[in-house]
Amino acid sequence: MRTTIRASLIFLHTALMAVSPAAAAETVKIGFITSLSGPAGIIGKHMKDSVELALDHLGRKVGGLDVEIIYGDDQRKPDVGKQLADEMLKKHRVHFVSGIIWSNVMLAVAPTVTQAGTFMIGTNAGPHELAGKMCNELFFTTSWQNDQTPEAMGKYMQDQGIRDVYAMAPNYAAGKDMISGFKRYFKGRVVDEVYTKLGQQDYQAEISQIRAAHPKAVFVFYPGDMGIQFVKQYVQAGLREQIPLYSVYTIDEVTLPALKEVAVGIFETRYWSPDLKNEANQKYIGDFRKKFGYTPSFYGTQSYDGILLIDSAVRAVKGDLSNRKGMIAAMRKADYKSTRGTYTYNVNHFPIQNFYLLKTVKGAGGEVEMQIQKTVFENHKDAYYQDCGMKW
């Protein structure tokens, strides 16, 4: 009888411990949302692996506290992402939500998270809304604002004297940002702007249209799986020799293993490259290759940086997760070893950073890789920060 009572008491105690918020404070809970299934799953893998590497580097602690990561698969759908965020906030009571590849998902998730008083640390998507009117003190990103990268490409192509460009992107928030960013610096004629369905895999019909329009060059934004499909089909259709292709977020370490030689010679602009020489980057790439056996991508570095950024914030408030003000102030300093080198935060919590021109080349060992050609922008600010009401 007595044992029964004792057992019940122990049970009750454990149950109360499990649900009481005080107990939860000893662990940092981070919800990490990305796309793990479907064609974009490969990107999610890059991000998830990088998060794990970051935790390894931090000794499986964040800011000195135990850490629990809850991964969520948004299936590239905003509504699923929103639902995941709700669940993470209400069921798991996370302190930070991080990750998110797609701008449309980000637009659904970020407000949900920040309205609940929780930090949203973006590690890829940078829709212009969040840089401008919808900026929020609880929102930080370790990546970039969508427009910035195509701005660099637009500038490069403008400088090269290329005219009559045919522009293509998937039809979602980032796709439109990319084209508008491109047009901000490219002043030549845009023959046509075509938006395709997000996640589309067969571009043959669009490629036929391009051929019929015979532009001087094609500019595209096709991240991940879409990039693999588009570039392959572009080459298969015999357009590569007819019309040169320029791209952003299309040729990268995620798509190169599938594209290989097909991508050689294509230009990209970007804020990061594996051949960027700094200590943090070399350590990251070296350890990543050792642990996972493949070359990481910018999706990975951003996610890695995201965990380090959170770590710097929690460390700054000495593990007092209720001290939001302190954590905001800490993160604004960007005081951690970023893989891109040092950078600063703009008022809207978007990085001010360099953008480079990259070219796909056959490396010394015969493997296809990307190499920095030159710097297009130095300490480049996004075009929307003035719309952001935050002052600091």
Partner: protein, 304 residues
């Protein structure tokens, strides 16, 4: 402009051929066994995975095609014997639900074996190039081959159904299976064979699709609904209907996507055309199906 229409017609034909390969098996299963098999798309997926897997393993494209075809045939037969047999006598509602359950199972099984992320199968060099169809029109070799294979398969199927004993039995079974059995034909075996052939065709569609689309769990469902549209338009159970339906749907879908927007912009304002064009284009085949059913409730080529 004419060249563009020609090229888009080829694209439509290529898509139609893929639909046809899927539709042929589905319509036979539907027609003679009276089974609504939503899991047909899973066989397509299995075909795509197996082909990709075998290609990585053997390094030979043709060997992987042969192996994948044989393997999907076997998978189809196993699925028929284990799961679907008991469903023939059930009503359509049960069939829809049970095969919906099979979809979940297959998608997850594939996800466990190969992971959720998509695979990319590449083509051997001799298929990844392009060819000159007409002066100024280059067309990918692989897609041209797809069209050719599809047309050959369609012709073979047509001959099989119209000229062979098996074809006669299939048609006879579609109208009166009790009588076919009462005349000494093992109708169960016939069903299994037909299902296996249908599965192999779906697998063929899947392995063809591999290099064009991403190979991923759930890929079957993306095409399945279109395939249903094809067979409903064509008339359930009719191979001829499937051929005609597939070509119609392939053409309407592709040409609609390519030309509806420019055509509409002649009539409407550009911004209205921008909105209405893609909307109408993606709805076109469903409107077509509703229209066909309104006029001919049994499809274009009713079996009975």
């Amino acid at each position: 402009m004419i060249l563009l229409v020609l090229e888009q017609t080829l694209n439509g034909l290529q898509y139609g051929v893929m639909l046809l390969l899927m539709a042929a098996g589905l319509t036979l299963v539907f027609g003679i066994m009276n089974l609504v098999n939503l899991a047909h798309g899973s066989l397509y997926m299995v075909g795509a995975y197996l082909a990709t897997g075998f290609y990585q393993w053997t390094g030979s494209f043709l060997a992987s095609v042969a192996l994948a075809l044989a393997a999907t045939l076997v998978v189809g037969i196993v699925v028929e014997v284990v799961a679907l047999r008991t469903l023939y006598e059930r009503d359509h509602l049960d069939q829809v639900l049970a095969t919906f359950g099979l979809i979940l199972f297959f998608n997850e099984l594939i996800a466990i074996v190969w992971g959720r992320a998509a695979l990319y199968s590449s083509l051997p060099g001799w298929l990844s190039g392009h060819m000159q169809v007409l002066p100024g029109v280059r067309y990918p070799v692989y897609r041209a081959l797809v069209i050719l294979v599809g047309l050959v398969v369609a012709a073979l199927l047509y001959l099989m159904v119209t000229r062979t004993r098996l074809g006669m039995l299939i048609r006879a079974g579609a109208s009166n299976r009790t009588m076919v059995a009462a005349l000494g034909v093992n109708i169960r075996l016939l069903y299994t064979v037909v299902f296996g052939v249908g599965a192999a065709l779906a697998g063929l569609a899947g392995l063809i699709a591999g290099p064009i689309y991403a190979v991923q769990p759930g890929m079957g469902e993306q095409i399945l609904i279109q395939v249903f549209v094809v067979i409903v338009i064509g008339g359930i159970g009719s191979i001829r209907g499937a051929v005609v339906g597939a070509v119609i749907v392939g053409m309407v879908d592709t040409l609609g996507r390519a030309f509806l927007k420019p055509v509409l912009s002649i009539v409407l304002s550009p911004s209205a055309a921008d909105t209405a064009g893609p909307a109408l284009a993606s709805m076109l085949i469903y409107m077509l199906m509703a229209a066909v059913l309104a006029v001919r409730p049994q499809g274009l080529f009713p079996v009975r």
